[in-house]
């Protein structure tokens, strides 16, 4: 029975990948057309033609999200637990959270220009997950059997998704900033938001999710106290979670109190985000310590 569910989950994840690929293609076409159709009279772009493709791309993204969501749920059903027991499961849930963060932010801001980057990175994450990280569905090891698994890991994954989205925007900022410093924005870049908007958006995402990340760390500490007998032990994962926290705290201070904006703030944001990624990849796969549940 559980095996049937596991297969179903795999089909759902593969279908999600197919749909994300369609979304990626639609985003690519949209971008290509947007570059090709400059309106010379008003010097602004004419997007009427790309609008339809953009809608298809977003629709595909939503469908991919739904399929992946189902895939993650079914994976959990197959194992009879929350689907956060190994790195394959972290990765598909992380991809889900990342798309979720994007779609959530899309309700408020027009971020469709990011879609190309989002869809390709989700595809890469899922591709790595199904090829390199895949492990058969199995019950949890005793240390993971705790209600805190749901609380701690969901908070960490959602924070991660938003941190990465903020990083993508900070990267876009730096790229456009460089382009503008050489002269005018060209082609596709013309339709992206202004530098100020990107700067603010990247900051707001971090400010929004920093308390959640703090909560994830504290929830982890409470769990560690009951599982390992200490709430903090400088385990590599804990250390890097702390480093990420410190880096984002510094980022928020730099912005709010010292008044950093623009390029410097974007670099600090990227640094903080990279500590999160490092924690996820290095500590799970090559690291030692108590958080090595990758199953590799």
């Amino acid at each position: 029975m559980s095996r049937t569910w596991a297969f179903l989950s795999n089909y759902l994840v593969y279908s999600a990948m197919a749909v994300y690929t369609l979304s990626f293609i639609a985003h690519a076409i949209e971008t290509a057309w947007a570059v090709k159709v400059p309106n010379s009279t008003t010097k602004t772009m004419d997007y009427s033609r790309t609008e339809k493709v953009a809608r298809i791309a977003t629709a595909m993204m939503i469908l991919g999200f739904v399929l992946l969501f189902a895939g993650v749920i079914v994976r959990g059903v197959s194992a009879g637990r929350v689907p956060w027991g190994n790195m394959y499961e972290f990765s598909i849930t992380g991809a889900l959270a990342f798309t979720g963060a994007y779609l959530g932010a899309l309700r408020k801001y027009d971020l469709r220009w990011l879609g190309l980057l989002i869809s390709i990175s989700v595809l890469l994450t899922l591709g790595t997950a199904v090829t390199v990280l895949y492990v058969p569905s199995a019950p949890l090891v005793p240390a993971l059997k705790s209600p805190w698994l749901v609380i701690h890991v969901s908070a960490a994954i959602i924070s991660g998704g938003v941190f990465l989205l903020s990083n993508v925007i900070a990267t876009a900022y730096l790229y456009l900033d460089k382009m503008e410093s050489k002269g005018e924005r060209t082609g596709w870049a013309k339709r992206l938001p202004s530098l100020e908007v990107l700067d603010q958006l990247s900051y707001r995402l971090v400010a929004f999710v920093f308390p959640l990340w703090t909560f994830a760390v504290i929830a982890g500490a409470i769990w560690a106290e009951s599982a390992w007998g200490r709430y903090w032990g400088w385990d590599p994962k804990e250390t890097w979670a702390f480093i990420t926290w410190v880096a984002y705290a510094a980022y928020l201070h730099a912005r709010v109190t010292v008044g950093w904006r623009g390029r410097r703030a974007a670099w600090l944001c990227l640094f903080a985000g990279s500590t999160f990624l490092f924690n996820y990849v290095y500590v799970n796969v090559w690291g030692t310590g108590k958080h090595t549940y990758s199953g590799l």
């Binding site: 058969p136 199995a138 019950p139 949890l140 090891v141 005793p142 240390a143 059997k145 705790s146 400010a207 929004f208 920093f210 308390p211 703090t214 909560f215 504290i218 500490a221 409470i222 769990w223 106290e225 009951s226 599982a227 390992w228 007998g229 200490r230 709430y231 903090w232 032990g233 400088w234 385990d235 590599p236 250390t239 890097w240 702390f242 480093i243 410190v246 880096a247 705290a249 510094a250 201070h253 730099a254 709010v256 109190t257 010292v258 500590t275 500590v283 690291g287 030692t288 310590g289």
Partner: protein
């Protein structure tokens, strides 16, 4: 540069004041904060004594010269090192020096009334005006009060302010961090942490000598150990037959508390430790203890009992040593226990195929000579110093089998399981948790409230303006609603 040239002119008080200001400046705090993050990195890449003492020893063996230099910079004890401590102590001093004055200032400001309405409102960013109706001031007053603005009314104008929670939350967050640090220091002063391996069926009496390792806080005393006694009655480990991964560990114990004559039956599992007063007992690891009987050449028993072996992999292939100092000559066995016997595919040594004892084997190398136990140098109970011993045989035993050698014999009677229990008293953890919770609440309050002022002046025309601190968004929307309401459009 100019500051540096001025420095020598300062007297000692001036110098102190100057250093204090530098230390408590935001820039310094920011640098210290980033430094703390960077300083935490080496500890996650280099093995640490507190987490991985075996790897540290290996490091010293592999490259002794480098290791000695690294040790000089406490790179194997990063989180207890002087330089790491220096950074966070400076950071916290800086934090206190920054937060305390601001707290007092905030208290004063919170009781003060908002400043009077500026003369020229049209200079403000969000400004609008229209012909007055007459009752706008009254409507505005009601609205301000129902929205909990603090107001100052003067000369036909109201100055209203809201959003003090932002600074309150901000200060609360930083004070909470100090609380966390206090909790941690409290634990390290008054805490206790011990480990003991207990064979299933055996008894553990809570005295310092029962522990394999025991560490106290600086102000913890031996007498503070609570009196109790427990027996490990039964231990069950369940494994997944497909992946060999553990699924559940359950330890049943009998507990006898101080002053009680009733034996309580308790269960300890991973994630659900047993709490006795201020001490919590955690189930941390488990393994096998082969039970052996060693006889001398006359057939008299020289040693009998279980010997804990240390697991080496997830299938619990375990290694250990059986030392018989009472035999003459002394005998020692370097052993390896496999719960489910199989041979390595390349024809190499014995391996374990499954963590449960389905087909156990005890592999022994027997040595005679001097065990070196009287030399005074502490020895690992899992290893034998064979430098002054001679190997006399190798044997693989099934349960019940006996290996006979010239100086005697050893019988592999069977096995029992052992559990590794951690005993922890952590008196500061609730304080640290409280700090953590307050920190999150403070963060939420400071990140999600906006501080802003709204002014209204009513003369022949109504003038409304607003100012948002920290360029917080949303004021334009709020003002729009305010104006609509004043005009009676809503």
């Amino acid at each position: 540069m100019s500051q540096q040239t001025e420095l020598p002119e300062l007297d000692s008080v001036g110098l102190l004041r100057y250093s204090w200001r530098q230390l408590t400046s935001m820039r310094t705090a920011l640098v210290l904060l980033l430094m703390l993050g960077v300083a935490a990195i080496p500890g996650s890449l280099i093995p640490q004594r507190t987490q991985n003492p075996i790897q540290v020893t290996q490091y010293f063996k592999d490259s002794p010269e480098a290791a000695r230099w690294m040790d000089r910079f406490s790179l194997f004890d990063v989180y207890g090192s002087p330089w790491f401590s220096a950074i966070y102590i400076l950071l916290f001093i800086s934090l206190i020096g920054c937060v305390l004055p601001r707290t007092f200032e905030h208290f004063r400001a919170a009781r003060a009334l908002p400043p009077a309405t500026p003369k020229n409102l049209s200079r403000m960013e969000h400004h609008s005006s229209w012909v007055a109706n007459g009752n706008e001031l009254d409507i505005a007053r009601v609205w301000f009060k129902s929205n909990r603005f603090r107001i100052l009314e003067k000369d036909g104008s109201i100055s209203a302010e809201k959003g003090f929670t932002r600074e309150t939350g901000n200060l609360l967050f930083h004070l909470a961090l100090i609380l966390v640090l206090l909790g941690i220091s409290f634990s390290s002063l008054f805490g206790m942490r011990g480990e003991a391996i207990v064979n299933v069926g055996e008894r553990f009496v809570n005295t310092p000598t029962s522990y394999d390792t025991l560490r106290y806080g600086k102000l913890y005393q031996d007498g503070n150990l609570p009196t109790f006694m427990l027996t490990a009655d039964k231990f069950v480990a369940e494994y997944n037959v497909e992946t060999n991964a553990p699924e559940d560990y359950t330890l049943n114990i009998s507990l006898l508390r101080d002053g009680s004559s009733v034996i309580e039956k308790k269960v300890i599992k991973v994630n659900s430790p047993l709490t006795i007063g201020s001490t919590r007992i955690y189930l941390q690891a488990n393994g096998y203890s082969p039970v052996v009987t060693v006889r001398d050449s006359k057939g008299d028993v020289a040693f009998q009992g279980p010997v804990p072996f240390l697991p080496q992999d997830s299938n619990l292939r375990s290694i250990g040593a059986i030392k018989v100092p009472d035999a003459n000559p002394q005998v020692g066995f370097v052993g390896s226990f496999v719960p489910t016997y199989t041979r390595a595919p390349d024809g190499g040594g014995a391996l374990s195929a499954f963590p449960k004892a389905l087909d156990p084997r005890l592999l022994l190398a027997a040595w005679v000579g001097d065990l070196g136990l009287d030399s005074g140098i502490p020895q690992s109970v899992y290893r034998i110093d064979t430098s002054s011993m001679q190997q006399i045989g190798l044997k693989t035993l099934k349960p019940g089998e006996t290996f006979v050698y010239a100086q005697g014999s050893i019988t592999f009677e069977g096995y029992i399981q052992w559990v590794n229990l951690n005993f922890v008293a952590d008196p500061g953890k609730n304080l640290a948790l409280l700090g953590g919770i307050v920190a999150i609440l403070g963060l939420l309050a400071s990140l999600f409230t906006r501080r802003r002022r709204i002014w209204i002046r009513v003369g022949s025309e109504v003038e409304v303006a607003g100012l948002a601190k920290n360029a917080a968004p949303g004021l334009d929307l709020e003002l729009e609603q305010f104006v609509q309401m004043l005009k009676g459009e809503k």
